[in-house]
């Protein structure tokens, strides 16, 4: 909308010839030209700016500098382009470019980045987070130690704990171990006032939560007796760290055995004996994820079988849907058929349902015991449409045929109608039969426009995760394979079960495998498109 409006003052200021009164008023400067279009543009850009500024502040709050930089640049670009007179093409391009950046290029770059890391379960976050998590997970309550009713106190900005032990009040801080505070007031089990200290109420505790939960007050002068901490500001327990982090050497030391854990290349703290502390953190692992599929003996066996089926499935899906779609298109292209429009509309129906929904409905209909196909159509037959390996493959192809032929039908109908009728008529006059015309005229002419779509359809079916996941879930499973994959798994659904369903989620591996699949599909499509160019030479 804005694009059209901004084009309104078209004449450059130095345009020769007499100026009309209207033009002289609208000499292009927005300072003097307040046309309706300009106001609309101003409002729209203001909205975009408001959204952008909100995003910038939000990014600032969570310290996401990358997002912040991108938003600032994008906002500057948007404002410059829509208020500059020299960037007319940019006005059309910038929305698309921005979306391309965010939804395509960024996703691709991020997938590429993740593929070279070990991001996944156990390596979920940064090293700082891992150190913190290991520290808190290995701070254990001293066995048999008392539950201490605790009060948080403060003096000159320094926090401390006041506890009651064996009826006596004691006060301590991070620096000073607990010492008796005889002048403290104890009500019930709890210290309510200590001279020289301010007792913090719950509201004040809530304002300094991080400082209070991080405070450790030594239990006594002997550090081996542990320290008191609190999680709720009202109860204290004595804790001891079994693993202590030393920032200077970047190691964890086991306080009981003295064993040290040093950071390893794979993003874990590891002891000399090979004991690993969890969690680890995200590190780059080079090409490991890419080579795993070939080096991991567990994947090698099913991988070959699944690759063959993936190619077979993609190829047969394209072939069957195209054959049926083309046949129906030719049939319903014949002017002698009455009510063609009704038939055509009905045939397009499967295309109108969401694919995953249809797959679920088919799954129900093909159920061995209760499905519509066995129960009603086949009179109570006991055919394992989805449970026998070969029938499951057949079922998938049939369901995909049902889902896919309307698309081919639409495409072929369009292409058929674009073939000039006089060339066909000329062929008829020359004495060609129907089959001859189809073989030598219709099909080659059709392929010019349809072949690229067939390649796209092949690429789509090569990665048709939805259908497999919804219809069979990859099953029936192979018997006894070391990864749980099945006879109808495609490469992409195998990646899913290996990377996400096999115990721990491995985003790095999944990214690497999907890039490998992309390379395969990309190469096939490239070769395919090269060859279709030859078709145009007819």
């Amino acid at each position: 909308m804005t694009d059209q409006q901004t084009l309104e003052p078209p004449a450059p200021p130095e345009a020769p010839g007499p100026r009309s009164p209207r033009r002289s008023r609208g000499d292009g400067s927005h300072a003097r030209n307040f046309s309706a279009g300009f106001v609309v543009k101003l409002i729209l850009v203001a909205l975009v700016d408001a959204l952008g500024v909100y995003g910038i502040l939000a990014a600032l709050a969570v310290q996401s500098w990358g997002i912040l930089a991108f938003l600032v640049l994008a906002l500057v670009a948007v404002n410059w382009i829509y208020f500059s007179k020299r960037a007319v093409p940019g006005k059309y391009l910038i929305p698309g470019l921005l979306f391309l950046l965010v939804y395509q290029l960024f996703v691709m770059a991020y997938t590429g980045y993740v593929a070279f890391t070990n991001y996944g379960d156990g390596h979920n976050s940064t090293k700082a987070d891992a150190v913190e998590a290991i520290s808190i997970q290995n701070e254990t309550r001293v066995e048999g130690s008392p539950t201490l009713p605790l009060t948080v106190v403060q003096r000159d900005g320094e926090l401390g704990f006041a506890v009651v032990q064996d009826g006596d009040a004691e006060v301590g801080t991070a620096e000073e171990p607990f010492t008796a505070a005889d002048d403290a007031t104890v009500e019930g089990e709890r210290v309510t006032a200590v001279p020289g200290w301010e007792v913090l109420g719950f509201a004040q505790i809530a304002e300094q939560q991080a400082a209070i939960t991080e405070l450790r007050v030594p239990f006594s002068d002997d550090p081996s007796e542990g320290s008191v901490r609190t999680q709720d500001g009202s109860t204290g327990y004595v804790y001891q760290s079994t693993l202590v982090y030393d920032e200077a050497t970047d190691t964890f030391t086991d306080s009981a055995t003295g064993e040290t854990y040093t950071p390893s290349e794979s993003g874990n703290f590891v002891s000399e004996d090979g004991d690993v502390l969890t969690p680890g953190w995200r590190v780059g692992v080079g090409l490991d994820n890419f080579t795993r599929v070939f080096t991991d003996s567990r994947l090698a066996g099913p991988f070959a079988q699944i690759t063959v089926w993936t190619f077979a499935f993609a190829f047969l899906s394209v072939l069957t849907t195209f054959a049926v779609g083309l046949f129906l298109a030719i049939v319903f292209n014949d002017p002698r058929i009455r009510g063609r429009k009704v038939y055509r509309s009905l045939l397009i129906l499967p295309y109108a349902f969401p694919g995953f929904l249809s797959a679920l409905v088919w799954k129900g209909m093909l159920n061995e015991r209760f499905g519509f196909v066995n129960e009603v159509l086949l009179g109570g037959a006991d055919i394992g449409w989805l449970t026998s390996p070969w029938l499951a493959k057949l079922s998938i192809l049939m369901v995909n045929l049902w889902l896919g032929f309307p698309y081919m039908f639409i495409v072929c109908t369009g292409a058929l109608q674009a073939i000039p009728a006089d060339t066909i008529e000329a062929a008829k006059i020359d004495g060609a039969g129907a089959w001859r015309i189809f073989r030598s005229m219709t099909l080659p002419l059709l392929m010019i426009s349809v072949a690229p779509l067939l390649i796209a359809s092949f690429a789509f079916n090569f990665n048709n995760f939805t259908l497999i996941y919804m219809l069979t879930g990859g099953g029936p499973n192979f018997v006894g394979t070391p990864v749980v994959v099945g006879h109808t798994d495609l490469l992409i659904s195998m990646v899913y079960s290996v990377a996400f369903e096999s115990g721990n989620k491995q985003y790095g591996l999944a990214s690497a495998l999907s890039i490998l699949i992309f390379i395969v599909v990309g190469a096939i499509s490239y070769v395919g498109f090269r060859r279709t160019r030859k078709l145009e030479e007819i």
Binding site: L57, E132, Q231, S234, T278, V479, G480, P482, G503
Partner: protein
């Protein structure tokens, strides 16, 4: 204190934006909010709850807000997403403060450092041992148990009125005498259902993992050996007899039982409420043993867990450790939701024959393992049981291959 910078920035940013958007009228409210804060409201906690629990949680946290001034923002999530999203979002700082979830994801959360240990202190004694065992991982407590769930044998009293059977075979024989299309319904699916078959498996003495002395699971599988072989053969037998049928999934089993097509069904409390609503007269019993030893179902514990990166650790502990663990809170949750409370004193007050039946059946139960490798175990386990039940594979050798594969997968995790 490091974390307070983004909070200040966020508040500032939000305030600026709101001021910018809403004009001059609102600025007065922003400044006047600060003094009242210290008197009443002391903060806001975000809590993730699944769709089946949010309604019962709402009034209970409302009483918490009333007594402490801490606002609790409940966010409804699909139950399958809570654990996954917790792992993904806590590291970004966008995660919740508290989640209510089944305990079987605990190992994964600990392994990813997203859940903070809690100290229940003396309150641990208020809960049953299996409830505490559920929220414990590697010897440390990470959550407050909320409710307990397990499966048991449910009988349709309209078809059969007593159960003299001492073994599962006798049960099947008695059930067949009722003349219904199904005998004992155990829900299956294309990948079987190891969870619902587990009582039968344990009755052969083949639990999934070895348990150490304190009841926690080790990484060593114990499904193999002669006990496992016997169970595999028994599965094949039940499959051949048609007692187990992969085509009967959860929905179909439930519908068949509702339609009076089977006298027995092995299921959990999540289905019995539907049976009662349909006006059925049902009884809940322990599952009879198939292999001679007690049939132990898995016990699932719903617990409240605190994020390791919560910005309000004190408030979150106040809610989870000091409030949700109490008898009063668990009574209120039971009154609203009707699930077996984990607090022993609340559980003792439950006066509902069906829930009591589940409680008795689960008394001998084993906590569901929470180790991270469990999801890979489920996948292998179900796939193999499905192959045995459908007769696709030779039971004993297939079972043993699976045990080797699972051990391999567990060791690699």
């Amino acid at each position: 204190m490091r974390r307070s910078i983004p909070v200040v920035a966020a508040t500032l940013g939000l305030a600026l934006t709101l001021t910018a958007c809403s004009g001059s009228g609102d600025t007065g409210d922003d400044t006047s909010a600060a003094p009242t804060e210290s008197a009443g409201a002391t903060g806001t906690l975000t809590m993730w709850v699944d769709d089946t629990r949010i309604n019962e949680m709402e009034p209970v946290v409302a009483t918490f807000t009333e007594s402490t001034g801490i606002d609790v923002e409940l966010v409804q999530k699909a139950s399958g997403d809570i654990g996954k999203d917790f792992v993904a979002q806590v590291p970004t700082g966008e995660g919740p403060d508290v989640i209510i979830s089944a305990h079987d994801g605990l190992g994964e959360w600990v392994n990813n450092g997203v859940v903070a240990p809690l100290e229940l202190g003396d309150k641990a004694g208020d809960f049953s041992e299996s409830a505490i065992a559920g929220v414990t991982y590697d010897g440390k407590v990470y959550g407050t148990p909320i409710s307990i769930e397990n499966i048991a044998l449910v009988r349709n009293n309209a078809l059969l009125t007593d159960t003299p059977a001492a073994t599962f075979d006798e049960l099947v024989a008695q059930a067949k005498s009722a003349g219904t299309p199904f005998s004992v319904l155990v829900q299956q699916g294309p990948d079987s259902d190891p969870y619902h078959l587990y009582p039968l498996q344990t009755s052969f003495g083949a639990p999934v993992f070895e348990q150490s002395a304190d009841g926690s699971y080790t990484d060593t599988l114990s499904m193999g050996g002669p006990a496992g072989d016997a169970f595999a053969a028994y599965l094949a037998k039940l499959g051949a007899e048609g007692v187990l049928d992969l085509a009967v999934d959860g929905e179909k089993a439930k519908q068949a039982f509702l339609d009076g097509q089977a006298p027995y069904m092995i299921t959990g409390p999540w289905n019995t409420s539907a049976f009662e609503e349909a006006g059925m007269d049902i009884a809940v019993l322990p599952v009879p043993s198939a292999g001679g030893q007690p049939a132990q179902p898995f016990v699932g514990v719903q617990g409240a867990f605190v994020s390791a990166k919560s910005e309000n650790p004190v408030l979150a502990n106040e809610l989870v450790v000091n409030f949700l663990s109490t008898e009063a809170a668990q009574d209120a949750l039971y009154a609203e939701g009707g699930r077996m409370p984990a607090n022993s004193a609340s559980a003792a007050k439950v006066d509902n024959g069906i829930l009591k039946g589940f409680g008795e059946a689960g008394a001998t139960g084993a906590p569901m393992p929470a180790i991270p490798a469990m999801s890979s175990v489920w996948a292998f386990w179900g796939a193999t049981e499905a192959q045995i039940i459908s007769g696709q594979a030779e039971p004993v050798s297939t079972w043993n291959t699976m045990v080797a594969n699972v051990q391999d997968a567990v060791d690699k995790v």
